[in-house]
């Protein structure tokens, strides 16, 4: 199985964009069959009057857990889904070895309704529904399918890796700036070379207790 994951080990099969194919909506499939992956992403923020800004971040995913780590400030997030479907969240501060835990009802109490598909696929489900295929492209030695929406004001382009169920590229234009997120490296979780900092001994604070600590 790992043979499919290490993109540099795969020989490019010579696919090219195929403009005359029928346009299809993005099909994601069952959320309980997500492959376990570890990804390094780079997000680029492009604004008309400013220099481009680049952020590297890690993304680890299993069926019921997603963790991210922002390399710039060494903070991160952990999302977990319980057997009953409740979604919990934690902010991770690696430098301080500290986590703030939000239970499902804490998230609700602050008006947040987490969407598990959006968290695991990095795609807002409402946006995902509007995407139609627009050809194929070669990326990391494998076939990525390009999808676009038809929104002139807020255009979204993605390149979707169907086997890994993850976008290799997401480009969005919002409020006059462009956000481009691209995969830098992609691994199966068990073969991951990304440095994963264990949070096992971190101090946990309940979100509900924050108010009494200020």
């Amino acid at each position: 199985m790992s043979k499919k994951w290490l993109w540099f080990s795969i020989i490019f099969a010579g696919l090219s964009a195929c403009a005359h194919q029928t346009s299809e909506p993005l099909y994601i499939g069952e959320s309980n069959s997500l492959p376990d992956i570890a990804v390094e992403f780079e997000t680029t923020v492009i604004e008309p009057t400013q220099q481009e800004r680049h952020y590297r971040w890690y993304f680890w995913r299993t069926v019921n857990r997603v963790e991210t780590q922002n390399l710039r400030d060494n903070s991160g997030e952990v999302w977990t889904k319980s057997v009953t479907g409740d979604v919990e969240y934690a902010r991770v501060f690696h430098n301080e070895k500290q986590m703030i835990d939000y239970r499902s009802s804490d998230l609700n109490a602050i008006g947040t309704e987490p969407n598990w598909a959006g968290i695991t696929l990095l795609l807002n489900p409402a946006i995902a529904k509007t995407l139609m295929s627009d050809g194929q492209t070669e990326i990391f030695g494998r076939t990525g399918i390009e999808y676009k929406n038809n929104n002139v004001e807020n255009p979204v382009d993605i390149i979707w890796l169907a086997d890994e169920k993850v976008p290799a590229m997401i480009q969005r234009v919002e409020h006059g700036h462009t956000l481009v997120t691209r995969i830098v490296t992609l691994y199966s979780l068990e073969k991951s070379a990304l440095l994963h900092q264990s949070t096992a001994n971190y101090r946990h604070i309940d979100f509900a207790d924050i108010g009494d600590k200020e």
């Binding site: 319980s82 009953t84 409740d86 835990d101 239970r103 499902s104 009802s105 804490d106 609700n108 109490a109 602050i110 008006g111 947040t112 309704e113 101090r203 946990h204 309940d206 979100f207 509900a208 924050i210 108010g211 009494d212 600590k213 200020e214």
Partner: protein, 506 residues
């Protein structure tokens, strides 16, 4: 041919007219708020007041209810929130929560020794020991520095709680909360420490010799020990090597390897430990003398979310009833502290819906306690430890939904701010509900009564804060008449101790 149709039509007319009659009768029965109504109802209240006689009996039992963060604006809004859910209400404003019908009310000054606006640690210390102290400290005098690590210093400055005195006098004692049992309010009843956050050994500096709060609950050695301790906070009692019985992917948080739930069972005769609703329901109060209930790994669920809990949790009302059943077996009497601990958390989150539904559940628990006790021998006190920055604002018309947008009398549209935006009745002076610059957001099409709606806040803070204004004390039963005027928060202890004939501070 038309016989049947005519009959039906006639029947329909009769039915309709009888419905009209019924509705006319019920309209006739609804109260009309005319001048006579106000004068008559005022007269009745006056007559009731004139009949009031101080209940000079000493109390066999004292039940203290604490709504954590339940300021007066919270009580008013909860009264309307509950009132608007009742059939035939007159707008909801006329409703009374159970404890608002108590005959005696006073105000409590909540400042701590070192802070104008306090937290729950010094406030509950004042309520339950009669001594004001510094913020963050539990049942120790003000000479102790916050986070003092030396256990000898802390022990030398202990101040005795009403529950400790009760045990020494042969009474039974109980603590019920929806927060963690090791959280500040319940902890002040049994623990003495320089830092409220030292709930388990893992929360403490390794060189501190003060005992952690969970351990102090199990090692409570006054009289024959606590009879009832129910709430959340299971992880503080379980070692990090043991999986939580409800959230199986999580573990206890104790690093010292101690399983304090097992110690409870080993320490007491006829003891029980339960962690879910089924276990709670199976407890026979007649056969159980020492009950430990830890119903969540951390705080228990909000009442609004309780049904979704994996293993199920009892309500505050159910825990109160069970506690009274166990404690009232002692002929000498009992002291019970019941905390609605999550009013405070909902306010910190800027979520009025949950703060109000928690307050209504506290009112239900008080009603249950009233049913199960006799005012001749029981003093019931309901108070708050401190307030929040929660406001009821604008000029909404009578019956305007308390969680809704302000609509003034006679208007068809919502009241608008300077930028033409509507605004809610309920809001906060600060907190996460700040919605920013340059203008507020348009709430016209937002369901502001949704349980997950975040009320607006004027100052952006990650968490809404406590507030410093006085809170109310409601009292009924033995010696309740001693609650009057504006008092220091520590006065609450004086009346409870007086009612029980305890020597103060000893």
């Amino acid at each position: 041919m038309c016989a049947n149709e005519c009959k039906l039509t006639a029947m329909a007319v009769i039915l309709a007219s009888s419905l009209l009659t019924i509705s006319a009768v019920s309209n006739a029965e609804t109260i009309s708020e005319n001048p006579k109504f106000w004068l008559d109802s005022g007269k009745q209240s006056l007559a009731d007041s004139e009949k009031l006689k101080p209940n000079e009996n000493n109390a066999k039992n004292v039940i203290l209810f604490v709504g954590d963060g339940m300021g007066i604006s919270t009580i008013t809004a909860a009264r309307i929130f509950e009132g608007q859910s009742k059939p035939n209400n007159r707008g909801g404003e006329e409703n009374s929560l159970s404890f608002e019908k108590f005959p005696y009310v006073a105000l409590s000054k909540t400042y701590s020794v070192n802070q104008q606006t306090p937290d729950s640690a010094p406030t509950m210390t004042a309520i339950i020991t009669g001594v004001k102290t510094n913020d963050g400290e539990l049942s120790v005098g003000m000479a102790v520095a916050r986070q003092e690590k030396n256990g000898n210093v802390v022990n030398a400055n202990k101040v005795k709680s009403l529950l400790e005195q009760a045990e020494e006098n042969g009474l039974s004692t109980g603590i019920v909360t929806t927060a963690r049992l090791t959280h500040a309010t319940p902890a002040a009843c049994y623990a003495h420490t320089s830092e409220r956050d030292w709930e388990a050994d893992a929360d403490m500096p390794t060189d501190a010799t003060v005992s952690d709060i969970a351990k102090q609950l199990i090692n409570f050695n006054y009289g024959n020990g606590l009879e009832v301790a129910m709430g959340g906070g299971r992880s503080k009692f379980l070692p990090e090597t043991i999986n939580d019985p409800e959230e199986l992917d999580k573990k206890g948080s104790r690093k010292d390897g101690l399983n304090l739930t097992q110690q409870w069972l080993d320490k007491y005769p006829n003891a029980a430990y339960v962690f879910d609703k089924m276990g709670f329901a199976a407890i026979d109060a007649k056969k159980t003398d020492h009950l430990l209930g830890l119903f969540d790994i951390s705080h228990m669920e909000y009442e609004n979310d309780r049904e979704k809990d994996t293993a199920g949790e009892p309500s505050l009302t159910e825990m109160t009833a069970k506690a009274i059943d166990i404690l009232s077996k002692n002929k000498k009497g009992y002291v019970l502290m019941v905390e609605a601990g999550r009013i405070d958390h909902a306010h910190h989150a800027g979520n009025a819906y949950r703060a109000l539904s928690e307050t209504v559940e506290l009112s239900n628990a008080v009603r249950k306690a009233l049913e199960k006790t006799n005012p001749k021998d029981t003093l019931i006190v309901v108070t708050a430890d401190h307030s929040h920055t929660f406001t009821i604002a604008g000029y909404p018309q009578r019956g305007n939904p308390i969680l809704g947008l302000v609509k003034q009398p006679g208007e068809t549209d919502f009241a608008k701010d300077k930028h033409g935006m509507p605004y809610t009745t309920l809001g906060y002076a600060n907190g996460p509900g700040y919605r920013g610059t340059p203008n507020r957001v348009d709430l016209t099409l937002i369901d502001t009564a949704h349980p997950d709606f975040l009320q607006e806040a004027a100052v952006p803070l990650a968490s809404e804060t406590h507030a410093a204004e006085d809170v109310a004390i409601f009292a009924t039963g033995s010696k309740a008449h001693l609650f009057h005027g504006i008092q220091e928060e520590s006065y609450i202890y004086q009346v409870m101790a007086k009612a029980l004939k305890f020597k103060v501070g000893q």
